[in-house]
Amino acid sequence: MRITRLAGLRSAVLLAAGFVGLRVLYRVLFGGTGGGGLLLLDLPRIRLAGPFAHITLFGPVTTWGVGNAALSALPFAALVLALGLLGPIVDIRALLTRGAVRGPVRTVSRALVIAWATFPALLDSVRRVRVARELRGTRGPASLIVPVLEQTVERAIALGASMEVRGFAATRVAEPACERPATLEDVSLGYEDRWSLEHVNLVFEPGTLTLVTGATGSGKSTLLHAMSGLFQHVADGVQRGGIEVAGVDRISVPPRETAGFVGVVSQSVRLSFVAATVAEELGFALAIRGVAPVIVRTRVAELAERLGIAHLLDREIGALSAGEACLVAIGAALVERPVLLIVDEPLADLDEAARIRVIDVLERLAHDAGVCVVIAEHAIRDWGALPDRRLDIRDGTVHIVGPGSEDRGLGDEDAPRPTELRVGPTSAEIHGLSVSHGARVAVDDASLSLAAGEIVALRGPNGAGKSSLLHAIARPVRRDTVLIGGLDVHGSARRSRRHAVALVPEAFDDLLFATTVGEECHRADRDAGLSGTADLFARLLGVHSAAGATALMHRHPRDLSAGERLCLVLAIQLSARPRVLLVDEPSRGLDAAARRLVGAVLREAAASGAAVVIATHDQDFAAQYATRTIAMAAGRLDAPVGASS
C-alpha cells in the first residue's frame, strides 16, 4: 500500500515537471520566448495565414524568455504537487472503508471498496483465462476479454446477492416470530414464461435439518431463494401463494430487511466475499447495521471460536482453502444468529475431510443450536441419516422423503454397466515431471505412461497436486518430460500440441467466449484445422434432428446447463482429436443425469482411441468410469504407474 502511495507522489513530481517543460515548449513553438537576456537560438518567424493570421511560429529564444515561461508555469505546477502530496498523507483506503459503513457517500465508498478488493481477483481471472486460451489454442482479444467480463458480471451478481441478504442498504428491520422459521402455502414459483415449481405446501420447524435434492435446473435454488427472498426481490421471479419466513410475508419484505434472522450461504462462496479479511467478512452484517466496533469484534471472535476458525481471523480472504472458505461463509451468515439458515450446495468444491467438517457444523447448528437449516445438495450420500427429512424435487413438484430413507442415491445405479474398453498401445510417456509454485512443490517427480483407450482416474485430497499435474502435462515447462505419440509437447507448435493433448480445466467456462454455440464450434473447427465440432456436440447431447441441432447452435453458451456447457467444452477440446484428453474434476457440481452425460462423453473419447485422464475426488464417478485409478498425495503419485495390461 505504502508503495502505491509514494508512487503517487513520484508521478505528481513528474507531472509538475512535465507541465513546466510543456509551457516552455509551447512558448518556443508559438513565438513567446523573446525578450532580454542571452540569445540562445534565433529561429525564423513564420506567420500563419487565414483564420490563424494572428499567430506567429518560432522567433528568437532568449534566457529571459525561457525563464519567464518556466516561472509563469510554477503556480499550476505547485497545485499539481500539492495534490500529489495528498496521496501519501491521506489513507484513502481507510477513509473509504469507514465511508462505506456510514455517512452520506456509502454507495460510492462501498463501490470503491469492492473495486479495490476486485483487483486481485481480476488479475487472477486474466491469468486463468490466458491459460484457458492457450489450452484451447485460440487467439484474439474476444477470447480474453469476454470470459473475464463474464466472470466480472457473475462476481457482481454474487456480491450483490450476498450483500442484500446480509442487510446492505436496509432502511428498516422486520420483526421475526422465531417459532415458525418458514411456511409455504400453495406456493408456485417461476418466471413469466413458465412455472418451475407448483403447489408447494411445506412447514419448516426450528432445530431441523432439511435436505433439498433434485437434478440441476429442477428448482432447488428457486425453492431456497424463494425463502431467502432473492428470487422475488432480486431475480424478478414470480410467486403465487403465500411464503412466510419467521412470520414475515416474503413477497412484501425484501431480503435486506430480514437479514437479522435469515442467513444465506451462497453456492459460490468465494464470489460472495465482500471484505478483505476473514474478520471483516464475518462482521460485515453487523458493521453495516451500525453496531459498535467493539461488539462486532467480540461477536466475531466468539463465532470464530465456535466454528473452529479463530486462527483464520486475520487471514486475507483470498488465501483460504475451499473448506475454510465454506466455513467462513457459514460464519458470516450466522453472525446475526439467524432462525433460518439457507445453504446452497455447500459440498460441491470440498474434499472428504472438509465435507465431514462442514456437515458436522451444519448438523450441530440444527440439532444443538436449534436453527432451522435448509440445504440444497446433489450428493446425499455424504449426509447419511443426519437430515430430519429430504425434499426431492422432480417434474416441478416437491416430494417429501422421510428421514434416513435411501431410495435414490446419486442415480448412478441405473447407469449402464461400464463397457469393456479396449486398451491399445502406449500413447504417452511422462518422465520426471515436477511443478513448484514458489517454494511449495506441487508435483514431485511424477512419471507415468498412458495407453490409448484407457480412462485413468487420478484421485487424492484437495491440494494433492492433481490439477497441477494435469496442467503440467498439457503445458510442460521442461523438455523431454512429456512425450505423446513421439512428440515432445514442450516446444511443439500450437497446432501439433492440440493434436497431442487437450485439457479441460476445472473452471471450464473460461474457454467459452462466443455469443452462440454455433460460433464456438466454428472457432474450434478453425483453430483445429478440422471440422465437425458442431456435429460432435449435437451427438454428445443426443440431438439428432437437423432442426434440433440448428436450435442448439443458436443458443448462448452460458444459457446451457452446467453439464451441457462441460460437454460443449469437451467437444471443443476434442475437435483436434487429441491423443490424450485431460479433464479436471469432470463431475463437480453435476447432477445424476449430467454425470451420465459427461461419463458417456469420456467413454466415447476413450473408445475413439484417446487416453483419458480425469482428476477427481468423486469416488463414485471414478469407480463408474475409470479403467485404472492412480492415487496422488502431497505431490507424489504412489500407485503402480505402468499401463495396465
Partner: protein, 310 residues
Amino acid sequence: MTGVLDGLRVRPSGGDHRWSRWSLVIASILAIAGFAWPLVAAAVPKDAQAAVPVVALALVPAIAIAVAFGLDRQMHTATTVALLGVLAAVGAAVRIAGTGVGGVEAVFIVLILAGRAYGARFGFLLGMLTIALSSVLWGGIGPWTPFQVFACGWVAAGAGLLPRIRAASPRAARRWELLMLVAYGIIASYAFGLVMNFWFWPFAVGTGTGISYAAGAPLGQNLASFGLYSLVTSTLTWDTVRAITTTIGILLVGPAALAALRRAKVGRSRAAALRPRSSEPRGGGTRTRRSTARDAAEVPPTAPPPSAPA
C-alpha cells in the same frame, strides 16, 4: 462454475425519481460552464476576469462531489453497488494498463458498453468512479482529475442516452446498435479531447504566445488559437489514437461484452407484465422496481433533492 443465482436473473436498479434526472442535467450545465470558462471570462467585467479560472478550478470538483452525494442514495442497492464496484475495477485496470502503451485509452470501450447496457445514471457514476479510482491507484491526480471525472461520466452517460434501435430482426438491431456505438465512440473520442483542451488550454500555454488565450480578444481569434492548440496537441494524435482504439475495441468485443453485461439484467421488461406490483415505467436505464407495497410507502414520490449543486 455456476453463479450464486444460477438460473435466476438479476439486474441493477437505482432510484426512480424524475428530479434526479433534472439535477443531473443542471449539474452538467454548471460543469459545462466550468469547462467553458475562457468563454465566460470574456463576458464578465474586466475586474472579475482574473478570478474566473480560479472559480472554474474550484467549481468543477465541487459539482463532481455534489453529484456523487446526490446519486449516492439513489444507487444504494446491493446489486448496483456491486456492479459499479467490479466494473470500476475493470475500467481502472484497463486505464492503468493503457497508460503504459502510449495513451491507448481503451477505457472508453468499457464506459461506452457499460453505459449502453445499464443506462445513463449508472454510466455517469461508473465514469466518475473509474477515473477517480485509476487516478488514486496510478497517482495521476491533478487539477484535471475533476474535469476528467466529468468528461468520462458524460461519455458513459451519453451511450446510455442513445436511442433504442428498432429493426426487422434482433440480429439487425444488434448490428445497427454496434454501428451506432462505434459512431458515438469516434465522436466521443474527439469531443472528449476538445472539452478537456478547452479549459486546460489557457493554463497550458500561459500568456504571451501566438496561441495564448486573450481575454479581451474577439471570439474568432480565441477560437482560432484554441483550434490550433487542440489540433497540434491532441486532435491529430491522442484523440485519433483513442478513436481508432475505441472503434476496434467496440467492433471486436462489443457484441459479446454487451451480451455479457445484459445478462445481468435480462427479464426486466419481460417480467413486468405478470407481476402485480410492477408499477414501474418500462424501458432501459437503471430504475428501482419498488418490490413491495411497504417499500413503496417508504420511498415517497417526491423525495428530497440531493445536496444542492454547489
